[in-house]
């Protein structure tokens, strides 16, 4: 629909979907390519997160906390409650991991609330043709998170249950039989079912976040396309004004709604990570 009243909308959106990378990728997987924008923004956001929290942690007082410490403690307390609720083992890693995921993913997603054309426009001024500012709309970023979590799941499963225990968990459920022969027949079935469940975890983690943010960004792009290529001259017509007003109101509504989405996505990623690692710690 946007394409009807705004010629060039397809190009506009495709332009926004292109990464700032060293070269055009060939095929689905190409490890000679790197997306500078994703790395730049995720590192910048990591520094933001780490800088704020580290600054607060260094001068954390046990007395009356200041505003920054209050804010940081609110988040830390929230994450700590989540971890205590779902995770019953003892691990020094899991709570900081959950905090990092929550904050970092939230900041990734928060970049979606920056006006879609603002930073790419500034980048074009600085000589960069393409710029994608939301790291969580890059599959590389979301898979980096989920694969790291996946590696941790495997690591803790092996550590807590041993290789045999881990393997029996993959092969001896959900179907069980008293007869050894029948059980032997059920092992491959169980293995296929459990492997799918197991492998689906990192994929679903990464794709859920990516899909939500990609869709969210796409809505912003479509709204931005409402007034595409009209310029100030577009304000001379009634249609131009209507487009502008519609863009403003719809953008406002979607941004408000999006605040919920980005928070919920960060929260879901964190909680699922805790749950998966908790399952890796538990014996059956």
């Amino acid at each position: 629909m946007a394409a009807e009243n705004a010629p060039g909308a397809t190009e506009y959106i495709l332009h926004h979907q292109t990464f700032l990378s060293n070269k055009a990728p060939h095929g689905i997987v190409d490890f000679s390519v790197i997306n500078y924008d994703t790395v730049f923004f995720s590192v910048a956001l990591a520094v933001t997160f780490f800088g704020l929290f580290w600054w607060v942690a260094r001068k954390a007082t046990t007395g009356v906390p200041g505003k920054a410490q209050n804010f940081v403690e609110m988040i830390v307390g929230f994450v700590d409650t989540q971890v205590r609720d779902s995770f019953h083992g003892s691990s020094r890693l899991i709570a900081p991991l959950a905090l990092t995921i929550f904050c970092w993913v939230f900041l990734f997603n928060f970049m979606d609330l920056v006006p879609v054309d603002l930073l790419p426009w500034a980048a074009r001024g600085a000589g960069f043709e393409h710029l994608k500012v939301v790291p969580s709309t890059d599959l590389n970023a979301t898979f980096a998170l989920s694969l790291t979590v996946f590696i941790l799941i495997i690591f803790y499963s092996l550590k807590m249950k041993g290789f045999i225990g881990f393997l029996s968990e993959l092969t001896l459920q959900p179907f069980r039989a008293k007869n050894v022969l029948v059980q032997a027949l059920l092992v491959p079935v169980n293995f296929i079912l459990e492997s799918v469940t197991f492998l689906a975890r990192p994929v679903s983690l990464a794709l859920r976040l990516y899909g939500n943010l990609y869709a969210g960004e796409m809505i912003f792009l479509l709204l931005a396309a409402l007034t595409l290529s009209r310029g100030l001259g577009g304000l001379a017509t009634v249609g131009g004004w209507l487009g502008l007003i519609a863009q403003f109101i719809l953008g406002l509504i979607w941004a408000g709604f999006h605040i919920l989405i980005i928070t919920i996505q960060a929260f879901i990623f964190m909680v699922l990570t805790i749950v998966y690692l908790s399952m890796a710690h538990e014996h059956h």
């Binding site: 997987v29 190409d30 000679s32 390519v33 790395v39 403690e73 890693l93 990092t100 970092w104 790291t148």
Partner: protein, 156 residues
């Protein structure tokens, strides 16, 4: 959209970030929070203890005040007793003194009466003697008739 080197870089950055958070952020903040909640718990306990002590002290003070009041009442009662005793005693002394005075006065009166009667008798005897001597025309010799005169005087 493709998977590329960014994935590896991102994983590396993520690992580094988690490590940093685990090492330099999480323990400090959580320690501060736990320390504070411990402090608050201690403060609340101390406040409760203080309140309890206050209640106890108030009870003690009440008991002391009550005892003092009782003692004061006792003292007042004693003093009143003593006062009424004194009054009674004084009354007794006064009445006996009055009786004594009355008795003394009566004695005096009796004495005076007797004395007056005596002198009156003597005067009457004198008058009678004089009257008799006038009637007889001569002097009655007091010495000669002393016993007669005395008998006469006693009759009056």
């Amino acid at each position: 959209m493709n998977i590329n080197l960014t994935l590896i870089v991102q994983m590396f950055v993520f690992g580094l970030l988690v490590f940093g958070t685990m090492k330099w952020i999480w323990p400090h903040i959580l320690n501060a929070m736990e320390e504070r909640s411990r402090k608050i718990a201690q403060g609340l306990a101390a406040a409760e203890k203080g309140e309890q002590e206050l209640t106890e002290a108030r009870g003690k003070a009440d008991a002391v005040v009550r005892e003092a009041r009782e003692r004061a009442n006792h003292i007042i009662e004693q003093a009143q007793h003593r006062a009424s005793d004194l009054v009674e005693q004084a009354k007794g002394v006064a009445s006996s003194e009055a009786a004594r005075l009355v008795a003394a006065a009566q004695q005096q009166i009796e004495l005076d009466t007797t004395r007056a009667r005596e002198s009156l008798r003597r005067e009457v005897a004198g008058i009678a003697v004089r009257a008799a001597s006038k009637l007889l025309g001569r002097e009655i010799d007091a010495r000669t008739h002393a016993d007669l005169l005395d008998k006469f005087t006693a009759q009056i």
